[in-house]
């Protein structure tokens, strides 16, 4: 298979000025003053992505994922190293960054198209589709400065996805617009996947990666720490989340660990509709008050349920603790499901301990419904 993106030994350094002398006078008067130091944002990153792959790039703020993305898109030049790109690339970096507020939507579509490398004729050919997708309608001839922020983003997204790119780079932009438009964007991305385009998704939203990507690259402080299957990638990502919190907040969360998840019967097989009980063993170095969270995922990566992180307080004591989970009835259909459990802090913001795929539940179902859950509708003709 052909590689669409080949990243070879990328380093990126930024010069950080501690005291900037930007005016000529200041530079002449204080030639030696103002220190600057080099900050290494990316360190020896190499990977390649084959045509048709959807790859998630995960990393926390400051991990270098945006820098990497900008280098791939050609916005930033690497300090050393090389990136080879095959085919056309459209980036959804900051939607609408190329818009000229004084111009109308129509003129901006052409301008933005040209920025993405399209000829006027090519934009003209897809113009109606763009307007359709964006739902801007008759406002297309209104100056963009009068648009609402939603309209702005919709128009930019519409241009980017309609230019028929071979490689689509998406940076957290799916967090914008209303729910319905977000779903539409997601649909379009899934369609791109089916059409065998390469998609690079940069985010810190693990759920999005789980849903869309089969492969994940995890960055931490400028270094590539993981490149492989998404399930493992998410685990690595969470571990680094703990690591970085340990060093920054220095809170009591050290050494909270989920040691095991067991059931009284010793098996995780269950019949659909029956209840289940789990015992979760947690070891903690100190006494700690937090909340318990559980998640259930389908094998396709969809989140089926996540418990509320604010309503299940647990008081951990030093040593070993056991938390019981009771599920009265599990109305899931035939299939294999993954259980994730974790401990979060009192305000439900920071994950203190997490166990991905702590258990795998196999549900047997005798009924005839299809999908994920049984809702047993009673259907009568009136």
């Amino acid at each position: 298979m052909v590689n669409t993106i080949e990243v070879q030994g990328i380093f990126k350094e930024f010069v950080i000025h501690h005291e900037r002398h930007q005016s000529l006078k200041e530079r002449l008067l204080h030639p030696g003053s103002g220190t600057s130091e080099k900050f290494r944002a990316l360190e020896n990153i190499s990977f390649s992505i084959a045509a048709g792959e959807t790859v998630g790039i995960l990393g926390h703020n400051g991990s270098g994922k945006s820098t990497l993305l900008k280098t791939i898109c050609g916005v930033l030049a690497p300090t050393t190293g090389e990136i080879k790109l095959r085919g056309t690339l459209a980036a959804l970096l900051e939607l609408g960054a190329g818009f000229q507020p004084e111009l109308s939507g129509r003129e901006n579509v052409y301008l933005y198209g040209a920025m993405l490398g399209l000829k006027r004729k090519e934009v003209a050919a897809i113009f109606d589709e763009i307007v359709d997708f964006s739902e801007i309608g008759k406002f297309i001839d209104t100056q963009v400065k009068f648009y609402s922020s939603g309209m702005y983003v919709r128009l930019a997204f519409a241009v980017a996805v309609n230019v028929d790119p071979d490689i689509l780079v998406v940076d957290e932009v799916l967090a914008v617009g209303d729910e319905r438009f977000r779903a539409k964007c997601m649909d379009r991305i899934i369609r791109f996947q089916r059409e065998g385009r390469t998609i690079l998704l940069v985010t810190h939203d693990a759920d999005q990666v789980r849903r869309l990507c089969s492969r994940t690259i995890v960055l931490n402080r400028g270094e590539l720490v993981f490149d492989g299957p998404t399930t493992e990638g998410l685990k690595v990502f969470r571990e680094h989340l703990h690591a970085s919190e340990d060093s920054t907040t220095n809170s009591a969360n050290e050494n909270i660990e989920i040691t095991s998840v067991t059931t009284p019967s010793g098996t995780f097989d269950v019949r659909s509709g029956e209840g289940m009980h789990f015992d979760v063993a947690i070891s903690s170095a100190k006494a700690y008050a937090g909340h318990f969270v559980m998640e259930l995922h389908s094998r396709r990566g969809e989140l089926i349920s996540r418990s509320d992180a604010m309503t299940s307080p647990v008081q951990l004591k030093p040593g070993s603790n056991v938390v019981g989970i009771d599920i009265a009835a599990l109305p899931l259909l035939d299939g294999v499901y993954d259980l994730n459990v974790g401990i979060v802090d009192e305000i439900g913001q920071n994950v203190l301990a997490w166990s991905e795929k702590a258990a795998t539940i196999e549900v047997a179902y005798d009924g005839r419904e299809q999908g994920i859950i049984e809702i047993a509708p009673s259907i009568t003709q009136l």
Binding site: T4, E82, L103, R197
Partner: protein, 310 residues
């Protein structure tokens, strides 16, 4: 996930062109990239002009107001008040002013253009020199509008240009374009690092204006004094001088005229032959061409840190 992963590969990319993002692209690579994005340049020029005159009824005509004012004032001062005695002085003045206006507006407009479009520079990939080049592109449009007005002047005054010198026009224009583009691109990059370069440039441009024979005649004023000390070459170090003189030679036509004051012969332009003008223009084109390549190289070094400076 599994069903998506097994999706049929629709696209055959084995023949698709490969682009390389590297630490320091070669000069050839930079120029090829620039040429590949000429469509964007064209659209930016159009949008620049549109934005400038959005919501103004007279549109492009406003761009003529400032040059017309300058022309009128200089004519009044030098021809009417100071009585320089040059017949049809307005043609001489105008043919130099259109050259100066293009250079001046390009450089002034470009110095802050990268800073002004910082949002774009930090988010979208395109050759950064296109920002300055689009400003230059817009001034080229105004240049041709002014050239059309100059033609109208020639017809109204019944003034004959030097027809045999007319083929010099495209060469001189390309030289002017490359010079304006080179200085503009360079300044747009330098200003990112030194913000008050914009003010310094304004002063330097003022100085250059008076060192260029636009509102006065070099031959008629300082030429004899400089020649006596063997310093004539100093005046021609300013690359705008030969360009302006070529335009004046073409449109004003005559080199010697009879003064309207005294009736005596006035030397307005250098007594160069057509061949001499060709040599001067071609050499200058070569120098300015190399200068532009040098600017492309320097700009490539400057743009690496735009991200952290903007």
């Amino acid at each position: 996930m599994s069903e998506l992963a097994s999706a049929i590969q629709r696209r055959d990319l084995s023949d698709a062109p490969v682009r390389t993002v590297s630490a320091r692209p070669s000069l050839r690579g930079r120029l090829a990239n620039l040429w590949g994005r000429r469509e964007l340049l064209g659209q930016l020029v159009v949008s620049d002009i549109r934005v400038k005159y959005k919501g103004s009824a007279l549109g492009l005509f406003w761009s003529m107001l400032a040059p017309a004012m300058n022309l009128g004032i200089y004519y009044l001062v030098f021809s009417v008040f100071l009585k320089n005695g040059v017949p049809n002085f307005v043609i001489y003045l105008f043919s130099g002013l259109i050259v100066w206006n293009m250079f001046f507006n390009s450089v002034i407009g470009s110095t802050t253009v990268v800073i002004a479009r910082a949002g774009l520079v930090k988010k979208v990939s395109f050759p950064r020199e296109i920002l300055a080049l689009s400003t230059v592109g817009a001034t080229v449009v105004y240049f041709f509008v002014q050239l059309a007005v100059l033609t109208v002047f020639l017809v109204l005054l019944g003034h004959q240009p030097a027809w045999s010198y007319l083929p010099l026009l495209p060469v001189a224009f390309v030289t002017l374009y490359l010079l304006a583009a080179g200085v503009s691109v360079l300044m747009s990059g330098i200003t990112v690092y030194m913000r008050d370069m914009a003010h310094l440039i304004e002063v330097l441009l003022q100085l250059t204006f008076w060192l260029t024979p636009v509102v006065y005649s070099y031959e008629n004023t300082i030429a004899p004094a400089l020649a006596r000390h063997g310093l004539s070459w100093l005046y021609f170090v300013n690359p705008m001088t030969p360009i302006v003189m070529t335009f004046q030679r073409i449109f004003y036509g005559a080199t010697n005229v009879l003064s309207t004051n005294t009736g005596q012969v006035l030397h307005v332009l250098p007594q160069w032959s057509l061949a001499h003008f060709w040599v001067v223009n071609l050499i200058l084109l070569g120098i300015v061409g190399i200068f532009y390549l040098l600017v492309e190289y320097l700009f490539g070094r400057l743009e690496v840190n735009f991200e952290s400076e903007l």
